[in-house]
Amino acid sequence: MSLLEVNDLNISFGGLHAVHNFNISIERGDLYGLIGPNGAGKTTVFNLLTGVYSPDEGRIILDGRDITNLKPIDKNKAGIARTFQNIRLFKDLSVKDNVKVGLHNIYPYSALSAILRTPAYHKAEKQMDERAMELLEVFDLAGEADTMSSNLPYGKQRKLEIARALATNPKLLLLDEPAAGMNPNETAELMDTIRFIRENFNITILLIEHDMKLVSGICERLTVLNFGQILAKGDTKEVLSNPEVIKAYIGED
């Protein structure tokens, strides 16, 4: 059984049919790419999957469980974490605290034991600190743990967002243009990191990306969206050599 099963997802905003009969099936451990020209509806699909919008029609099944109409917080608890196209960090919190917000539901204790500083508080905080540092280590951010997150350089902010998403211990990680605004070196480094987390965190990744080097370099399978509809899907190589896809991206000659 596949990890994520999406059947005939539809949503319209007024007269705009933003996503039309969207289907996707992602196997456990896949590194799956979702590509398409600007305005094709890729981020809308992410917003549907994470509960920012609820679909007009269709079903989303994660790991055998119907999560179609759950709210964002419950979708996260069900096992979907995401990053955002326009970075959304908690800018007035330190780098470490950003990750610790991600660990919120993993090491719980009550507000009362926080105020009274009970042993439960100290124990959970210690575990959180250790786990947060582990994650920051993976993304090479451990040295900046106490920096205010808004003071990080752009590339590191993107990495921190991934670290925060991973902290919630998801089954499925959605990355919305992780390489946007990165230079070729940073992109190459990011590709290594994505490969590393897929192997070491036992996780499935769905990513939106425009950087074709990254897409062809790490994605095993692709779905191409155009005007809210699926244009092509399949193995990366096949899809990228599909004349329809080339036409949609580059235009006819």
Partner: protein, 354 residues
């Protein structure tokens, strides 16, 4: 000894500052060096600091502008005062004040919670306007209520004192409409006020540096990201707002037990008072708990001390407001402060190492 983090150190400094302030004031009082006018300001100054700490939790940490905190003070003041007046002869001072305090804080927390349910669905300006309205509603209702007690039980009226139908011999008026509550025992004093200030500081600081505090601040910084990171936005907004209201209620309890006649007047509980609290918070630094305490203390005492200057009083007061604003918010001033403070602490550390 365990090594303290920077945050823990900063918390301890705040608490130590309050304790030092208390000790200095006590020394001046004991040696008779403090005028009775100034002595009378000590309790108000402390409860306004408490209210400012409470409001800062809402404005600075949760990031939601509330203009209704004077209304919450009003609830704390009236509910605790009603209890104290009713049990004035039945209970000794200490348990009576403790119970009155608990009742005042619990009532405010409850009302804060109930008001929070509809109000926290709003954001920004809308939230400010609605909380402002709630503050005014609370004040105006308490201005119109008549309440009395006799051997048949509690009597309430919104018309006038006579229509309560109190028994002439055993009846006792508690709230006399716009005349308010008279005869609240003056159970609060400077020591109690300082203890409550310390407790509210500890509560707010410990909350902020915990899982719950981080959740609250993550909502402030980015609501959508907080939601998709698994933070229950509604729950944490309610938690912060309720605690914030309860602390303002605690300030109200001290307020009513420091004066003999409690009336729901605009200058104490109206929107002007709410805005004054907001001024303390903003000038002390939004989200800076220690700053709120210092700003509340300075800005409360200053106009009182300047009474002798008569016409120039508000002029000087406004200049002080502007200077404090520049000191706390101007980028240049912040840079200057950071440079000098870091030099100072470096030198201090070097000397300590020697």
């Amino acid at each position: 000894m365990k090594k303290l983090t920077k945050q823990q150190k900063s918390n301890l400094i705040t608490l130590a500052m309050v304790v030092c302030f208390y000790l200095i004031c006590e020394i001046f009082i004991r040696t008779g060096l403090m005028s009775s006018h100034l002595k009378g300001l000590l309790v108000p100054l402390t409860y306004y600091a408490i209210a400012a700490v409470g409001l800062n939790l809402c404005v600075g940490i949760l990031g939601e502008l509330s203009l209704g905190h004077a209304g919450f003070m009003c609830i704390g003041a009236f509910s605790s005062s009603i209890f104290s007046v009713m049990t004035r002869d039945a209970l000794p001072t200490v348990p009576r004040f403790i119970l009155a305090f608990i009742i005042g804080v619990a009532m405010t927390a409850l009302l804060g919670f109930l008001i929070g349910i509809p109000v926290l669905r709003l954001n920004g300006d809308y939230l400010a306007i609605v909380t402002l309205a709630f503050g005014e509603i609370i004040k105006n209702i308490l201005n119109a209520v008549y309440m009395g007690v006799d051997d048949k039980g509690l009597h309430l009226s919104l018309k006038d004192a006579a229509s309560m139908g109190l028994d002439a011999s055993t009846g006792k008026k508690i709230i006399n409409g716009a005349m308010g509550i008279t005869g609240t025992p003056s159970d609060s004093n400077f020591t109690i006020a300082i203890i409550i200030l310390l407790v509210s500081l500890i509560i707010v600081q410990n909350l902020v540096q915990s899982r719950d505090g981080r959740a609250i601040m993550s909502i402030r910084d980015n609501r959508i990201a907080a939601e998709s990171t698994g933070i229950n936005v509604t729950k944490y907004k309610m938690l912060a707002f309720t605690i914030s209201a309860a602390i303002a209620g605690a300030a109200g309890v001290l307020f009513s037990h420091n004066i003999s006649t409690l009336t729901a007047q605009g200058i104490y509980f109206g929107y002007n008072a709410s805005i004054m609290l907001l001024v303390y918070v903003v000038l002390g630094g939004i989200g800076n708990i220690r700053g709120s305490v210092i700003a509340a203390m300075i800005l409360y005492v200053l106009p009182e001390l300047l009474r002798g200057m008569d016409k120039y009083r508000m002029l000087i007061y406004s200049i002080v407001l502007i200077v404090m604003m520049l000191f706390n918010w101007s980028p240049k001033a912040i840079e200057f402060r950071q440079n000098h403070l870091s030099k100072f602490s470096k030198r201090f550390r070097k000397e300590a190492a020697r």
